[in-house]
Symmetry: C2
Subunit: 239 residues, 2 copies
């Protein structure tokens, strides 16, 4: 299978795709604020990279700027959406409706990002409530629910002990993108044969306990070197 390629024929790696997504986020906000132009250093500040990286990314994508006036917000948004795809709505399911899962079911920030939780799933009959605004179904209806809504992305907020079993069930249900809140390393190889594994998936891990541990270690080891980088500068507001 080919790697994704940009308009110039260069390949886009994971890091670049994630940066493009972040540019796009910021650009939408800037547009909402009435910005027409933006400089590479402004965008870099917002996303946490250097101006050179921003320019190089855009250069790679054949997105041109103006040598004096920077880049046009509308052009950037248009081109980035052409590359990343302009999603109307991101539908997801939440598997495991404990404390974190329940909180995410109703997470109000999702709406702003165009993310919609279509359903929760749980193994506990007491948690099931199919008639709620965001319904919660028994876990064994996962495949049916996923198919009905065409969901390909799921949030995993089950106890660690259930993680692998749930992971497999989600793969079987056609889910290919996983936001994993468990401490278990989820990877396709762990549920299928080594060589003949045809099921590919994407996993993003959010290990809250580990992140907090890391904070303590980083503070202890590296208290002086962890400044986030570039000073804030201001972008060009609409005249």
């Amino acid at each position: 299978m080919e790697e994704p390629r940009d308009p110039k024929g260069n390949s886009l790696n994971r890091a670049t795709i994630l940066r493009l997504a972040r540019y796009l986020r910021v650009l939408h906000k800037l547009k909402g604020l009435g910005f027409v132009k933006v400089f590479s250093n402004n965008l870099g500040d917002s996303v946490g990279v250097t101006p050179a990286v921003v320019r190089k990314d855009f250069s790679l994508l054949a997105i041109g700027g103006n040598k004096r006036g920077g880049y046009t917000v509308d052009v950037l948004i248009e081109r980035l959406e052409a590359i990343l795809g302009k999603e109307e709505s991101h539908d997801v399911v939440v598997v495991g409706c404990g404390r974190i899962g329940s909180a995410l079911l109703e997470y109000s920030e999702f709406t702003r990002d165009g993310i919609r939780v279509v359903a929760g799933l749980d193994a506990d009959p007491d948690k099931v409530s199919p008639d709620a605004r965001i319904p919660i179904y028994p876990i064994d209806q996962l495949a049916e629910v996923a198919e009905r809504h065409g969901v390909t992305v799921g949030i995993v907020t089950v106890p660690d002990a259930a993680a692998l079993q749930v992971f497999r069930a989600m793969l079987d249900a056609g889910i290919r993108g996983f936001l994993n809140f468990t401490a278990v390393e989820l990877k396709c190889q762990s549920v299928c044969d080594f060589d003949s594994c045809a099921t590919r998936c994407v996993v993003q891990n959010v290990n809250i306990g580990l992140e907090i541990e890391n904070l303590f270690y980083l503070l202890k080891m590296n208290p002086k070197s962890e400044l986030a980088g570039t000073p804030e500068t201001s972008a060009v507001p609409r005249a």
Copy 2:
């Protein structure tokens, strides 16, 4: 200021520190399972890196293995704890007790990791409950609470609009490690003068909305290349 250095005088960068923390986590689990020895490829699988990286890390730290039998779990734990520090307990505060914040207040996984939430803080008087098992105080008592418990790490689960203001208050209260659930980029430069900034802090971002967006983009752009890497192999169980 000097960078942290290992026993051989080499400097430890952020990526290495985070890997060491992950090794240590896995090693504690292995010890709990009765493992005495472990090979570089086993540890690599668990942490998601290649065996060569594991060996290189340990070599850098002057931790030796046995050319036939791998590394001794106890030795690794001892040496890693000597380097990272053996923390008895990680005390944190949760600032902002909305859906996510409340869920984290009672997050049961924390106990297993030695993380203790000493208090929550909120601006809403209705949320305040100083007599609860995990008390919730008014936000303006933050400095007092942080000082009383000697807390240096905080979880930020406030609305985006309040993020910067809360960030500044937390810095003023002596908090230096931040687990940031808001979509706002928190960095010390945003709250102090550029050059004379003496307040250093560490921020780990958990942007759930962005992570989900990324899943959709990665699935669309790179459906075939996101396999998590190395196949599982088994470690050496105690005889």
